[in-house]
């Protein structure tokens, strides 16, 4: 199994969820994160002094998937999360040794 972690623009989250659901992924876990990258944050002003809020809000999407569909999932994320503008984010894939569904104790493919 693979653990796919995608850092995406938050407003793309709904589309990405839809896209992976279409492939048959039934569950994902999302975290609000701050991204620092080539895309720059914005400038704020407070009482005459400027300062840079240098992070950007991003959504981190984690999905555990079966090896067979991993590539397909990655493709789907790329296609939906891409705007073509800087800051679209990254996808990281790592090897997942085991996945267990707590409720049933099922493992592996059955668990995700």
């Amino acid at each position: 199994m693979k653990l796919i972690t995608a850092i995406i623009k938050p407003f793309k989250l709904d589309d990405v969820r839809q896209a992976v659901a279409d492939i048959g992924i039934q569950g994902i876990t999302v975290t609000e994160v701050k991204g620092f990258g080539r895309q720059r944050g914005h400038t704020e002003l407070y009482r005459g002094a400027e300062y840079v809020v240098d992070f950007l809000p991003k959504a981190k999407v984690e999905l555990a998937v079966d090896d067979e569909i991993a590539e397909q999932v990655v493709e789907a994320i790329i296609n939906t999360a891409r705007t073509g503008k800087i800051g679209d984010g990254k996808i990281f894939v790592t090897q997942l040794e085991q996945a267990i569904r707590i409720r049933t104790g099922e493992t592996g493919k059955e668990a995700v």
Binding site: P10, F11, E32, H42, T43, E44, L45, Y46, P57, A59
Partner: protein, 425 residues
């Protein structure tokens, strides 16, 4: 004896002036009510901007009404029929006030206390607009409109009724009554707001592709609630002060009855909206409930003096039912009003005007409709024109990116809640 009489006159004058000032201060406090209500019902990313809009519009309203609005609306004896002649009548700038002779002549309160009371009314009308156009309008375009509404559009129709113009009872066979301004103030604000909203369009994402409503919940309901309670308190000044005088048994009784009726109408509106919301939606939707209380207040504003307390409660009840239905209905028409201002002040303002003849025989339904129609038409058409010009020149809507990112950063450069982690919405 004569000395005593002078003393008594001085006391009477002082009491009426003081009453007027206290009532005016309560109405001024309504500015805080609108500010909190609106800042609670927008998203967090647009909160600093709506705060700025509200405090800004209040200040602009005061300045414009001082510079010209008051003299347009109350041209006084010198008024010859031309609105703009009225600009000459700017004694407010010289701060002269009634002397003993004027008082002997029948002036029973300070002219400046009248100005103070009136100026906070204009601000109220303008506050109504800011809620309806929230979360997407450019800040300075809004302020330009505020200048025109508070300096000209409002005072001109205000003159019609309260400045002893053609809509005033006593002028021929006119039977139009609007005690404290369901029409002159509230519906005026709503009509201006409606014109703005039509030209502005809905917030991105409010209406789905198939027309379904996608709610955009307000970020901070305790603020919306305290805003409503501030308005409720301030309304005692709004209606209670509109009696204009408290001395004398009759006046004092009148003011007391107005306080009771104002309170009961709000209570009735709130309970009605709560029950309707419970039956219709299955839940006690707090935002509807708050709008219900405000609807009760708007409804009783046109005539808080002739109904008995029980009747006042029922007038409020109808207001509360109407406002819930109206909010749902306007959403069907895709008229996007984040705080429900058009429903509360416009639809229910009209109801308030039409309810007057139910308890007051001096009003005729025909004249109420004439008054309603002419005020609405005047304010809507002129406002539409002004918004249109502003749209064509400065633009009235922020860019899509700015709307997405929030107006706080774009317009104010800061965030209302910089430290709190919020979900992106």
């Amino acid at each position: 004896m004569e000395e005593l009489a002078t003393q008594v006159t001085g006391i009477s004058y002082a009491l009426d002036t003081f009453y007027f000032l206290v009532m005016g201060a309560l109405v001024m406090w309504m500015a805080a009510g609108f500010t909190m209500l609106e800042s609670g019902l927008v998203r967090s990313k647009n909160t600093a901007e709506i705060l700025t809009k509200n405090v800004g519009l209040y200040s602009i309203a005061c300045i414009m009404y001082m510079l010209c609005g008051y003299s347009i609306m109350y041209p006084g004896g010198d008024f010859q029929g031309g609105y703009f002649n009225a600009l000459a009548n700017i004694s407010i700038l010289t701060g002269s006030d009634n002397d003993a002779a004027a008082v002997a002549d029948g002036s029973y309160y300070s002219g400046l206390s009248d100005f103070f009371f009136q100026v906070v009314f204009v601000a109220t009308a303008m506050s109504i607009v800011s809620g309806a156009v929230a979360e997407r309008m450019k800040l300075y375009s809004f302020f330009v409109f505020a200048i025109v509404l508070t300096g000209f559009i409002y005072p001109i129709q205000g003159f019609w009724k309260w400045g002893d113009g053609w809509l005033n009872v006593g002028n021929g066979d006119v039977g139009f009554l609007d005690f404290a301004g369901s029409g002159v103030v509230h519906m005026t604000g709503a009509a201006a707001a409606l014109a703005g909203v039509i030209l502005l369009g809905a917030r991105k994402g409010k209406y789905g592709k198939d027309g379904q409503v996608q709610p955009i919940p307000g970020a901070n309901l305790p603020l919306a609630t305290i805003g409503t309670l501030i308005l409720w308190l301030g309304w005692f000044g709004f209606n209670g002060g509109s009696q204009l005088q408290v001395t004398g048994i009759e006046n004092a009784n009148a003011v007391a009855l107005i306080f009771v009726n104002t309170n009961m109408a709000a209570a009735g509106g709130l309970v009605a909206a709560m029950l309707l919301s419970r039956i219709w939606f299955g839940k006690a939707d707090l935002t509807m409930i708050l709008n219900g209380a405000l609807a009760g207040l708007v409804a009783i504003t046109a005539e808080p003096l002739t109904p008995q307390p029980l009747e006042a409660t029922l007038i409020g009840v109808v207001g509360g039912l109407l406002v819930v239905a109206s909010i749902v209905f306007l959403d069907k028409l895709k008229i996007d009003d984040p705080v429900g201002a058009i429903s509360v002040h416009g639809v229910v303002g009209a109801w308030g005007l039409l309810a007057v003849p139910l308890t007051n025989d001096d009003a005729s339904m025909v004249w109420q409709l004439i008054g309603l129609g002419s005020i609405f038409a005047w304010v809507f058409v002129t406002s539409f024109a002004v918004w249109f010009v502003v749209k064509a020149t400065m633009g009235i809507r922020v860019s899509d990116e700015e709307e997405y990112e929030g107006l706080d950063i774009g317009e104010c450069g800061l965030e209302a809640y910089p430290e709190f982690v919020t979900t992106d919405s």
